[in-house]
Symmetry: C2
């Protein structure tokens, strides 16, 4: 017997009680955690819902990310999908499975990460329910909800020929962070800890989702699997070709170029193929004023030989597949 409190020694009820005590409340909850279900406001008579799961050793390593990091990341990756509809995140439910030997302090840090990510990335949003179960590996599954506030949702399928393609947020930085961690090069990790930290605690531009909707965005999604793969999703859903201007990616590459050199990597591949930045990729009518958070990177063309072109060349769909890796 050890004196360290674990979720196994405390049991589900006590562990959940300690976790819930650390969570911030959703401003939109009429009934919060503790009953069979929560009850959430949906003032315009609709709600937005999405789900995303993080699996140990597939999506993260416990040696690279703290409980706090993972709580943050679970929130960030899900509310980015809410923002990508042009909605405001309102409420989350969180299912966590973890070994019963997990220390309660890890779980408390996880709750703090959930809480801080809500407060900092989507003020007013909070965790309204959850589930805790034993398993050999840590698995975090979140369902996130949002309000469209009377607006129409921005889908992937609305891009029109002649629209401007633009991105809000970073490209390639999370991939840089991952490559640095994988390199095991402790000097490089220390020197470029901003990218490592962004990998651990993504910073999706949540407010830019609503701004895009208000500016007339015709399509939008969250860049979770890499620019090439996610751009091709808009292209296919909208039956168009997206042409990315390679010159417009140079700024994204420049930021991570030094880190790439330190570990002999190619920053261009990170920008085009790297996932987990959780930026927003959107199309806007050519006469629209782009919201400040967005930077134009290309154009919408009639459907051509490839869904996505980088300049004059077809861009292969590289990127992350959550099953095959």
């Amino acid at each position: 017997m050890s004196n360290v409190e674990t979720i196994g020694s405390l049991g589900e009820n006590e562990s959940l009680k300690r976790t819930i005590a650390r969570l911030n409340l959703s401003e939109h909850a009429l009934v919060g955690p503790g009953d069979d279900s929560a009850v959430i406001n949906a003032p315009d008579g609709r709600f937005v819902v999405t789900t995303d799961t993080l699996v140990e050793d597939h999506d993260f390593k416990l040696s690279w990310s703290t409980g706090y990091d993972l709580g943050w990341k679970a929130v960030a990756s899900n509310i980015a999908d809410v923002a990508a509809m042009g909605a405001v995140p309102t409420a989350l439910v969180v299912a966590l499975t973890a070994p019963s030997s997990t220390q309660i302090s890890w779980l408390e840090a996880f709750a703090d990460g959930l809480s801080d990510a809500c407060t900092q990335l989507a003020p007013g949003c909070g965790v309204v329910g959850g589930d805790l179960a034993a398993s050999e590996k840590v698995m975090i599954s979140v369902a996130a909800h949002g309000s469209l506030e009377g607006r129409e949702p921005v889908l992937r399928s609305g891009a029109q020929v002649g629209d401007i393609l633009a991105v809000a947020g970073t490209l390639g930085r999370a991939a840089a962070g991952l490559a640095l961690l994988q390199s095991g090069n402790t000097d490089a990790i220390a020197a470029y800890d901003d990218w490592v930290n962004l990998q651990r605690r993504p910073q999706p531009p949540v407010a830019a989702g609503v701004e895009a909707a208000l500016a007339g965005a015709t399509s939008m999604l969250d860049v979770s699997d890499g620019l090439a793969k996610d751009a091709s999703r808009i292209a296919k859903a909208s039956a168009v070709t997206l042409q990315i201007d390679p010159l417009m990616l140079q700024g994204f590459e420049a930021v991570i170029e030094e880190a790439a050199r330190a570990i002999d990597a190619n920053p261009g591949e990170w920008v085009i193929g790297g996932g987990e930045d959780h930026s927003l990729l959107a199309t806007f009518p050519s006469q629209a004023t782009l919201p400040r958070a967005f930077k134009a990177i290309g154009l919408v063309l009639p459907q051509g030989p490839a869904p996505v072109m980088l300049g004059a060349s077809p861009l292969p769909e590289s990127g992350w597949d959550s099953v095959t890796g």
Copy 2:
């Protein structure tokens, strides 16, 4: 290389596409699967949300349950929590993790189980989004949503002294099924396959949730962890004592008595401590007309020495803890 198609050989996108094609649509979805989020109707300006997770070797064994069974069970266990608020289930999101060696036929059967459970237990409800990821073990996490249709939610905390305690659905049958499977007694399993099948594919009395709300239920929950444990949750939340009349449990015991005898078990323990029937336990004002699905099993007393009494004796909180087992 094998010719059997697996989720690993097909990848996330193709596997999800095949799954989604088998799902029934939610009548309440304005935007269904395929975008960053779904958009669901919430006509009274609120929605109900809950989440529950099933973990391989903790909540189920793949040798005892098919993909179809698990799809069914994941829906049933979650919509019971929606029904327990007095709400009508409208939409689900489903996260599945499974080994990449999982055959696509298993995933298709899982989708059929999701679909059939929605159609049969909660017509109009459907799966509106999901996530598929690789992991060593199968894990199913669902978030279920519902509409209160303008009614107030029925919480755990509203039981009043003098109320009648009543249950809709079965007690102990799912525990009987589990004990039969654990016994390995193939003759007994074959003879009492009704209880085994109820364990695999629970039949929560979903419509009874709304009926209870309309009849004025003062508190309600879904009996997922056993009568003793779940009754104590109402008692604690309402600051009352629930007194269960042992005579009123005899009918529940009688049904599973023969199966208990076949494997030398105690049917009374199944009725009091067995989880996963996903019945509804509710309290009603003494003058209320109980809906037909409900059977009175006790009374609400002022808070006494124990949260739950069985006749004149305190009832210990046995039951299922999802962390400690």
